[in-house]
């Protein structure tokens, strides 16, 4: 039985009431309780298990990235509304005193800060591409990452978070290698979520590009079938939640970071990411707030 009748507020309140999440003052930012974390970690382990024989290189980056990656990939052309750039204080004594006074007086204080060289990472795969620079081996490259990402999308709706975790896989190679890998995972991703009793299905999708130009980019992305999502109803049956997302970037990152295949062509890349909080929430919504009462086959997979 589902936890709530597909209602975002009721679902949020249910997660809080059961100690699964803990409000932390700002919409889209909340703490995670032990039971929530246990389910999330077990799901992550399940993904790693089914992908084990792919022999992906493991990499871990902090949730902050070199600002020049944002600039080189033209992130701000597409998603200026989502960015989190880190600003800090570079001033001297007098400036520091003015800053304190303004904060203590309840006034705005952003004017005293200036841009640093880091941004909050907006997509798990971004820090990987510079490491691919040069010529990739014949069989291409495959990397897996576990990452916190940030998107400035404050919302009371629990599946739309400002900060969340992704289990990511990134493939780099010839167009054929990359597309074949993407298609293999698309099926795998749907099957994995279905094996957990989630009513998952895949569909073509578009990124939330900014503004009028963004409408055109989104249409272009749909027409070229460059993005797919695996959808599961969590807060709405009509608009199911993307729990896993697949992006085929063609030669975008290969061009930006000088990545080549052995034949001298610009390498293509694709990535896929499981939204770990979203899958965890989908499990709670689908099977109820108490994991002890989840169907035996689901428990067996996660607690094997």
């Amino acid at each position: 039985m589902t936890a709530t009748a597909y209602d975002p507020i009721a679902f949020h309140d249910g997660l809080v009431r059961h100690g699964l999440i803990v409000p932390a003052g700002v919409d889209g930012i909340f703490g995670r309780g032990a039971v929530f974390e246990d389910v999330l970690a077990r799901f992550d382990k399940l993904i790693l298990g089914i992908a084990e024989k792919d022999d992906a290189q493991v990499l871990l980056f902090p949730p902050t990235i070199d600002r020049s990656i944002i600039e080189k990939t033209h992130y701000m052309d597409s998603f200026p509304h989502l960015v989190g750039a880190v600003y800090s204080f570079f001033g001297k004594e007098l400036g520091a005193r003015q800053l304190s006074e303004q904060i203590n007086a309840g006034e705005a204080w952003g004017e005293h800060l200036a841009m640093t060289h880091v941004c909050l990472n907006p997509a798990a795969c971004y820090p990987v591409y510079p490491t691919f620079a040069g010529t990739v081996p014949e069989q291409g490259r495959l990397v897996t990452l576990f990452a916190w990402v940030f998107r400035h999308e404050p919302s009371i709706e629990p599946t739309r978070m400002q900060a969340f975790r992704i289990r990511e896989y990134v493939r780099c190679g010839t167009p054929e290698q990359v597309v074949e890998w993407r298609n293999m995972w698309l099926q795998r991703g749907v099957e994995l979520l279905q094996s957990l009793g989630l009513p998952a299905r895949s569909d073509v999708a578009a990124d939330p590009f900014f503004g009028k130009g963004g409408k055109m980019l989104a249409t272009s992305q749909l027409e070229q079938e460059l993005k797919f999502e695996v959808l599961v109803p969590v807060i709405s049956e009509q608009n199911p939640t993307a729990t896993c997302s697949f992006n085929y970037h063609q030669d975008k990152f290969g061009e930006a970071f000088g990545i080549k295949t052995p034949d001298g062509q610009t390498a293509h890349t694709a990535c896929l990411g499981f939204g770990l909080e979203r899958v965890t929430m989908a499990l709670f919504q689908t099977h109820g707030f108490d994991p002890a009462a989840w169907p035996a086959p689901v428990r067996q997979l996660l607690w094997a």
Binding site: D77, G213, K215, M216, T219, S220, Q221, E223, Q224
Partner: protein, 83 residues
Amino acid sequence: MSENAARIRAVLKDHARLNRDAETLDDDSDLYQAGMTSHASVNVMLALEGEFDIEFPDHMLKRSVFESVGAIAAAIGELTEGR
């Protein structure tokens, strides 16, 4: 139409970042094949709106409308009809 085509080529020259001279393009040459990226096509779209004092409606914001000089000219013809 031919006057429009010349103005469209001028916009492409400034904004499409093509790998060849916009003047040498046939009316039906594929602009994406000629190196126009999705992002460049957005800049072309916005520049055409300024150049022709038009606004592309949502249903025209797709690849096929901007794929060639001829396709763009046809869209602009539709939007400026009766002016």
